[in-house]
Each structure stands twice: as structure tokens, then as C-alpha cells.
């Protein structure tokens, strides 16, 4: 009989190795699945993980792809640490894009110094408001935040669809569901590196994303609110004795993650799309969940995890072009990766012990217990 025995302390090497082993196992399992379905596994893995970063400018694009993931995951870290399951970041992202789009489209004449901050604030507000629905329903009516936040994602997708086809459609768009193009002041510009020039599509939003991850780390590890979040997640009973309010923490973490997802929506539109359209996100809100777990709920590790997952996302594009695989195949990798990470978590928390039949076990372990 195999039993799980809780570890008293976790070896550091195990903590560091877990994500690496998880990635390695994901590649192996992925290769097996590809081979089973009749694709050349080595060719598939090459297209997925090497081809997208084989030129310097592609490194820039990798950061661009990771940008929304890092921003969203920096917020989700708070939720998952507190054991609050916000899986509606996708919807909050859309609302952030819509709110910042309102600023950009309604006040196109604003100067740059006013436009950008206003758009960021608006996007945070949009994501925050959308996240407040599951938060308040949870604290007020004890409603399951997983289902509510997810249902709201479908609602948000339909909402933006209506907005760009109806009230905000550019009359000059020849019937396409698009708003007017944003003015230059509302766009995020590309970074011009001294001596190198532009690196792919690398834009200033990426710098913002890195700053947000560092900011999240600071709040979580150096501030009282961060401590509250960690305590309420790890030991809610102890938290209540310490006078922390579970409702406050729930509202706060959903607020933080909603605002972060909103900013991701604004950055995505202002840096890459330049106008609102029905599809502004490619499931970043869901993918960021995996990034958060790959980072093991550590905001600084979110940066590296975001880059790894972004690589798989870009790999999906290149495998689609080179091998004719459907785009959703990335989901296979993402799903397996999440499985492996969760399993790794178990190996961190428990030792596996093979127990002998009862009579023998009493003799062997009797002295230790």
C-alpha cells in the first residue's frame, strides 16, 4: 500500500526543480501524443519550442506575447494565494479594454500625458468592476466565485461583440465590426533600443508588465495586505483569530486581479490592435492561470513562467503554419503542463511511502512514532 506522508520541511532543490521537471515531462507526454496522432514528434517539438525564437527579433515578440500573461498572472497570484478562484480574468480583460477604449474614442484630442494615465485608470476600473460582481456575490450571498466569474466571461465577450458591431462601430469601417483607430496619443509605442533599433514588436507595455510583477512581489512579501492574503489562504482560522476579515481579503484579491487583467486588456489593444474588435484576447485570461501555477504563486517567477508559456503560444502559430496543426493544440501542452505542475506540488508536500502489511509495519515504525 502506497501512502502519502506530509513532509515537515521541503528541500530547496525540490522547489526549484519542480517546474523544470514538469516542463520536461510535458514535452515527453506531448511528443507521445503527437506520435500517436501521426505527426513527427521531433519536428512538432522543434516547431513549438525552437522555431519561434530562432531570430533576435523573435525574442522581442516573445516578450510581447508574454506581456498580457505576466500582467494578469501578477494579479492572479493574490487570488490563488488567498484560495479565491478567479477564473474570469478573460472577462475582466475585455472590460478593461472597453473602458480604456471609451477614453480613447470619446476624448481623442487629449494630449499624451493625460491620455495614457487616464486609459490605464479606466482599464483598471473596468476590470475591477467586473471582478467586483463575483466578489460581492461571494461575500454577500456565498455564491461560488468560480462559476460566476466564468459566466461573466461569456457575458463580457458578447458585450464587446455588441459594442463594436453596434454603438461604437466606425461608420467608415465598411461594415466590419471595428471601432475607429486610436489616436497616436492612445497607442503604446515600440521600444527603440540604442544601437539595435526595434526588436520585433517589443513595446513599452512589456516594461510595465515587468514593473507590475515586481510591484506584486513587493506588496505580497513586504506589506501587511500581502501578509493577510497569505495567511487567509494558508490558515483561514488563524487569520480570523488575528482579526483579518475573510470578506475583505476576498474583495481585495478579486479587485487586484480584476484591475490587473483590465490593464492587460488596455495594453493589448493599445500596443497591438490599435482599435477595438470582437476578439481582442486569445484566451490570455485562462492561459495566465497556468502561468500563475508554473510560477508557483510567486510574482517574480511569473516573469519567467510567462515567457515559457508565451513560447508555447507562439509555437502553436508556427506549428499551425509549418505542420498544419490546429491552433488549439497549444491547449494540449498547456493542459499537460498544468497537470504536471499540480502533481509536482504533491511531491513537494508529501513523501510517498510504501507501507508494509500491518504486523510488519508496527515493528518497523513503532519506535519512530
Amino acid at each position: 500500500m502506497i501512502s502519502l506522508i506530509p513532509r515537515k520541511d521541503i528541500p530547496l532543490a525540490l522547489t526549484v526543480m519542480t517546474p523544470i521537471i514538469a516542463i520536461a515531462l510535458t514535452l515527453i507526454v506531448g511528443a507521445i501524443i503527437f506520435a500517436t496522432l501521426g505527426y513527427d514528434p521531433l519536428q512538432a517539438l522543434y516547431q513549438f519550442f525552437i522555431a519561434p525564437v530562432s531570430r533576435p527579433d523573435q525574442i522581442g515578440d516573445l516578450f510581447v506575447k508574454a506581456c498580457p500573461l505576466i500582467i494578469i498572472a501578477s494579479g492572479l497570484v493574490f487570488c490563488f494565494r488567498a484560495n479565491v478562484w478567479n477564473i474570469g480574468a478573460e472577462g475582466q480583460l475585455i472590460l478593461g479594454a472597453v473602458f480604456s477604449g471609451y477614453v480613447a474614442l470619446t476624448f481623442p484630442g487629449l494630449p499624451g500625458w493625460a491620455m495614457m494615465p487616464l486609459m490605464v485608470i479606466a482599464s483598471m476600473l473596468g476590470g475591477l468592476l467586473w471582478a467586483m460582481i463575483p466578489a460581492l456575490l461571494k461575500t454577500r450571498f456565498n455564491t461560488n466565485e468560480i462559476l460566476v466569474s466564468l459566466m461573466l466571461t461569456y457575458v463580457a465577450a458578447l458585450l464587446i461583440d455588441w459594442i463594436v458591431r453596434g454603438p461604437w462601430r466606425d461608420p467608415m469601417s465598411f461594415g466590419f465590426p471595428l471601432t475607429k483607430m486610436y489616436e497616436d496619443a492612445a497607442l503604446i509605442s515600440r521600444i527603440e533600443l540604442p544601437g539595435i533599433g526595434y526588436l520585433g514588436q517589443l513595446h513599452w507595455g512589456v516594461v510595465g508588465a515587468l514593473l507590475m510583477a515586481v510591484g506584486a512581489w513587493f506588496v505580497l512579501s513586504r506589506m501587511l495586505v500581502g501578509f493577510q492574503v497569505k495567511v487567509m489562504g494558508a490558515a483561514p482560522r488563524a487569520g480570523r483569530f488575528a482579526g483579518f476579515s475573510p470578506s475583505f481579503v476576498t474583495v481585495m484579491v478579486l479587485g487586484i486581479s480584476g484591475a490587473a487583467a483590465g490593464v492587460a486588456g488596455m495594453v493589448e489593444v493599445s500596443a497591438n490592435i490599435d482599435q477595438l474588435q470582437p476578439d481582442i484576447s486569445f484566451g490570455y485570461g485562462f492561459t495566465a492561470i497556468i502561468v500563475t501555477f508554473l510560477a508557483r504563486l510567486n510574482p517574480l517567477a511569473v516573469i519567467g513562467a510567462g515567457l515559457v508559456v508565451a513560447l508555447a503560444e507562439l509555437g502553436g502559430d508556427s506549428a499551425q503554419i509549418a505542420l498544419g496543426m490546429p491552433k488549439v493544440v497549444t491547449g494540449v501542452f498547456k493542459g499537460i503542463l498544468l497537470f504536471m505542475l499540480l502533481a509536482g506540488e504533491t511531491f513537494n508536500r508529501f513523501r510517498f511511502e510504501i507501507r508494509l502489511p500491518r504486523s510488519a509495519a508496527v515493528k518497523l515504525t513503532g519506535g519512530q512514532n
Binding site: 502519502l4 506530509p6 456565498n142 497556468i290 501555477f293 493544440v329 491547449g331 498547456k334 497537470f339
Partner: protein
């Protein structure tokens, strides 16, 4: 009007299957958020087999089998490796959506013959009622039978008692000598089989082709339905019909030229889910009294 009611019934069938399967899994204490992924795996397998063999009945079995197999992955991780059930369920949905798309890529654009209708002799000749209730394909009857079976097993048999004991207090059930993990494994696999059947119904009856992500959130609505039904099988049937009705309302509204933008009508099932969740969860005592006490809690014998 009869046509409309008929459509409501057909629309609710996938929800009935998926929700009553998930209900059994949850009564044993396991929250499997991977319903959407299991449904998609069921749908793509059912379509592939029905297309390959020409037999929609074989497709149905393939869907059930694929759903159970997908649930087996979930069971391996949550039961075998004691992983977090919420996150593992999410992983299962992401994985199932991706894998079904990969398997189904060569199938896009093909069509199959759906399940034939079975007219029950005598009964199907009753005016109106006969058409509404007794002229369906085999899976409609099966859905009702399965709900009845779930209710009977849960409430009136020893097996049901064990499932509920494991779901309400796994430590006591373990102390009594029942295999907590064994019971949960079977319950989860049953849930997967039912989700697979629910998914299979989409390409076998509702739309006779395969499309990526064709379940369109039905798996999540099924999860909400379990809460709506307060973990009682027969209430799943009623709830599924209500949701089927709401889903159909948007189509009916469009056909009648309502001036509300279609997007708002499409939001109805999702908004209704939220409202229903609020109404059910509002009364904390009621919600707690009915939900399995160990739902989502990890069991390992080596404490």
C-alpha cells in the same frame, strides 16, 4: 409551439447527462471542473466513430467511453496524487479542449447521419403529448432513465449510502473500512461517462458535424445546474429544461424579430446561471445542508 417545446427538450439533453453525472461525482466528494473538457472529448469521439463506422449508436458508446477515460486522467491526479481539485479540473478542460480540437481537425466539414427517432408504439400516437414525449431518439429516453437511476441508487440503495458517506465524511467512511479513493474513482469515472454522453449528443443529434469547442460552455452550465438542483437528481431534470428553455428563447426571439440585440439574448443562459446561483446560495443553511460536506476536500489515508 410544439416545435419549440421539442427543441427545448433536445437542448436540455446534454445538460441532463453532464449534470447528473457530475452530481454523482460531487456526492462522493469530488468537484470535477473538467466537465467541459470531458464533454468535448465525448463529442469528438462520438463523431469520429459514427463517421467511421456509419453507426451513431456505436458513436454514442464511443462518447461514453472517451468521457470516462478523460475522467480517469482527472482521477489519477486528484485521487492518486492528491492534487488540488479546482486547478486539476481547469487543466482537464484546457487539455480536453485542445486534444479534441487536435483529434477533430481532419473531421471538420464532414457530416454524419444522426441518431434515428424511435416511436414508442401506442404512446406515440397520442395527440401532441405523443409527439412531445414519445417520438425521440434513444438518448432522450436514456437521459431520463439515467436520472431516475441516479436518484434510485443514491437514495434507495446501499451503494448510494456508501457514496454519500464518502462524500459527507471521508474519515468516518475510511474508518468503517470503505475504500474512499475506490468509491470516488468509480463516481468520477461515472461522471465522465455521463459528460461524454452529453457531449456525444451534440454531434449525434443537435448539429450533425464537428466544430472546435462546440459545447460552448455547456459543461460549465452543467456544473451550475448541480448547485441549482441542490445535489438532487430529479431537480437536474427540471433545471435542465429551464436552461434549455432560456437557450431557445434567444433563437425564438430572433425569429420573431425582437428589437433587442442578439448578443443580449445570447447572454441570457449565463446571466440566468448567475441569478440562479445567487438564489440558491443566498440561504447559507440551505446550501450547506444539501451540499456534500467533503466536497473538494482532499483525502489521503496517511495522516
Amino acid at each position: 409551439m410544439e416545435q419549440l417545446i421539442l427543441t427545448v427538450i433536445l437542448t436540455s439533453v446534454p445538460l441532463i447527462f453532464a449534470a447528473s453525472g457530475e452530481l454523482i461525482a460531487e456526492r462522493s466528494g469530488v468537484l470535477n471542473l473538467g466537465v467541459e473538457g470531458m464533454m468535448l472529448m465525448g463529442a469528438v469521439s462520438a463523431f469520429a466513430i459514427a463517421m467511421g463506422t456509419g453507426s451513431p449508436i456505436l458513436g454514442m458508446f464511443a462518447g461514453a467511453f472517451a468521457g470516462a477515460l478523460t475522467a480517469g486522467i482527472f482521477a489519477f491526479f486528484t485521487l492518486g496524487l492528491a492534487t488540488n481539485q479546482v486547478a486539476t479540473g481547469l487543466a482537464l478542460t484546457i487539455f480536453g479542449t485542445g486534444l479534441s480540437g487536435l483529434i477533430g481537425a481532419p473531421l471538420v466539414g464532414h457530416a454524419i447521419d444522426g441518431l434515428p427517432q424511435i416511436h414508442i408504439p401506442m404512446l406515440s400516437d397520442i395527440p401532441i403529448l405523443g409527439m412531445l414525449l414519445f417520438q425521440h431518439d434513444i438518448m432522450v429516453y436514456l437521459a431520463v432513465i439515467m436520472v431516475g437511476l441516479c436518484a434510485w441508487v443514491l437514495n434507495a440503495t446501499r451503494v448510494g449510502l456508501i457514496i454519500r458517506a464518502v462524500g459527507d465524511n471521508h474519515d468516518s467512511a475510511h474508518a468503517l473500512g470503505y475504500s474512499v479513493l475506490g468509491v470516488r474513482l468509480l463516481a468520477v469515472m461515472f461522471g465522465g461517462m455521463m459528460a461524454g454522453l452529453g457531449g456525444a449528443y451534440l454531434p449525434l443529434v443537435l448539429t450533425p458535424h464537428w466544430a472546435e469547442g462546440m459545447t460552448a460552455g455547456r459543461g460549465w452550465i452543467a456544473l451550475a445546474l448541480v448547485v441549482f438542483a441542490s445535489w438532487r437528481p430529479w431537480r437536474v431534470l427540471g433545471g435542465a429544461l429551464v436552461f434549455g428553455g432560456i437557450t431557445i428563447m434567444q433563437l425564438a426571439g430572433q425569429a420573431r424579430g425582437w428589437t433587442i440585440p442578439s448578443q443580449f439574448l445570447s447572454m441570457l443562459p449565463y446571466l440566468a446561471t448567475i441569478i440562479v446561483l445567487v438564489l440558491i446560495s443566498r440561504n447559507r443553511e440551505f446550501a450547506l445542508a444539501n451540499s456534500p460536506a467533503c466536497l473538494g476536500r482532499i483525502f489521503h489515508a496517511g495522516k
